[in-house]
């Protein structure tokens, strides 16, 4: 096996708001690391033997890499748009492959069954046709025109609405969801899933949001997302096999799974295989 292409990617390793000079011990792809605030106020990340690793602060989080990132961290232009509330949701530790956490985030067909009466409800289970593409210029997976009936799409939603979604995968363990914004038609709420791979079958999930919502208390916004992710965790920790299969195996994808199919194809094309299973079982 050659050097894994995922080594040179940026990963979230902590909340910028919780940086301190004492440092926080965590891990990245099996390597113990320490995340601290340096004397100049910037984030400092060190690996074994105090070896300095790349570090930057963006979207509420500290980002680092075990390798040599060839590009700056992906852009989220909406994050700098005035009037949005930026929500640090915190961390959810999940005993699953980091790639499985992203794939579950891209899936809407489970909403009525896992997030019952919040993000979906029976009998509104149909996933209508949507568009999926791997955008070659940006080198990102995109799903657009995704529509789904939701009883309570957001904390700010009153009653059920048909929500429109767009999904973006700009990095192997990060996804950005653009979602109908109930109080401000024409704009998109931004909900992200930043996943820190601790091991091939263990990750820290750092959801983050940039919302147009001036009403809902911050605690309620955080609780809403945490409720959703804890529901997802019970699924993710019981998936079989634990690693994400990139080759066709026992699974039977349907049209609703086209985002997942494109994500897996994109991972395989780039050799993004940390947390993946290549041989069908």
């Amino acid at each position: 096996m050659t050097r894994n292409a995922m080594i040179d990617e940026w990963y979230p390793v902590g909340l910028a708001s919780q940086l301190d000079v004492h440092g926080r011990k965590t891990a990245l792809m099996g390597e113990p690391i320490v995340v601290r605030r340096g004397e100049d106020g910037n984030a400092k990340v060190t690996g074994g033997n105090e070896h300095a690793l790349p570090a930057c602060i963006r979207y509420g989080h500290v980002w680092s890499s075990l390798g040599d990132p060839q590009k700056p961290l992906f852009a989220i232009p909406e994050a700098d748009q005035p009037g949005r509330r930026l929500v640090d949701v915190g961390v959810v530790r999940v005993r699953c492959s980091p790639l499985r956490a992203v794939e579950n985030f891209l899936d809407i067909a489970h909403f009525p069954f896992v997030h019952t009466d919040i993000l979906g409800s029976e009998p509104h289970t149909e996933v209508q046709n949507y568009k999926v593409e791997i955008r070659e210029d940006e080198d990102e997976v995109w799903a657009t025109q995704v529509k789904f009936y939701q009883p309570q799409a957001a904390k700010s939603a009153e009653g059920g609405i048909t929500t429109e979604y767009m999904y973006r995968v700009p990095a192997p363990t990060c996804s950005i969801l653009y979602k109908t914004c109930p109080p401000r038609p024409g704009e998109w709420d931004v909900i992200t899933l930043f996943v820190q791979p601790l091991a091939e079958d263990l990750c820290n999930v750092w959801p983050w949001m940039a919302l147009f919502d001036d009403e809902t208390p911050m605690t309620d916004l955080i609780h809403f997302q945490q409720t959703i992710f804890v529901q997802d965790r019970s699924i993710l920790e019981n998936q079989i096999p634990r690693l994400l299969p990139l080759d066709p195996g026992m699974e039977i994808p349907t049209r609703a799974d086209l985002t997942s199919v494109a994500y897996r194809r994109w991972l395989k094309r780039h050799g993004y295989t940390y947390g993946a299973q290549l041989v069908a079982q």
Binding site: A109, H110, F113, V114, E122, E126, I235, I240, A256
Partner: protein
């Protein structure tokens, strides 16, 4: 995702993740994401013969020649998972399984255990009590089984210091 995490809904087994429903013959009845689609017959799950014997549900990997064992005079009480193997449970009980049951006495309360291994290091313990026992005796039998589980898990932990 295992179907055992799901639910029985009507006469079908429904998966907890995406709600795919399976009939008693193993074929898929419904894919909720595509309600207009009739699932092709090729979408089906593996089937095993199943039988209810005096309140205990049995499955068989093949086609069994006879029905499941009967335990006359005993009634199923509860099931519990032990993070250990059968050898440790037998060591903790100070006896071996006989005729499919492990006989254990704790604080003068006797309990019978039907043990089913789940992989190398887990055992599903089905607890059986005298069918004529009263609620107090059944609670005591349940506590006895829990005591055995604690003792057996302790033996396993002590026997493998590298196990987290």
């Amino acid at each position: 995702m295992r179907l055992s995490r799901g639910f029985v809904r009507g006469e079908a087994l429904s998966c907890i993740y995406h709600g795919w429903r399976y009939a008693q013959e193993g074929n898929c009845l419904r894919i909720p994401a595509h309600p207009g689609l009739t699932p092709p017959d090729t979408i089906r799950v593996a089937m095993q013969p199943v039988e209810d014997g005096d309140g205990i549900i049995w499955i068989s990997a093949g086609e069994p020649a006879a029905g499941p064992p009967r335990f006359d005079g005993l009634a199923p009480l509860r099931s519990m998972m032990a993070e250990t193997d059968i050898a440790a449970l037998e060591a903790a009980a100070g006896t071996k399984s006989a005729a499919g049951l492990l006989d254990y006495t704790h604080n003068a309360q006797t309990v019978q255990l039907l043990l089913a291994p789940e992989g190398q290091a887990r055992t599903l313990m089905h607890v059986l009590a005298d069918e004529d026992s009263n609620p107090t005796q059944r609670i005591a039998a349940s506590r006895a089984a829990e005591a055995l589980r604690r003792a057996a898990e302790h033996i396993r932990a002590a026997g493998s210091p590298n196990d987290p």
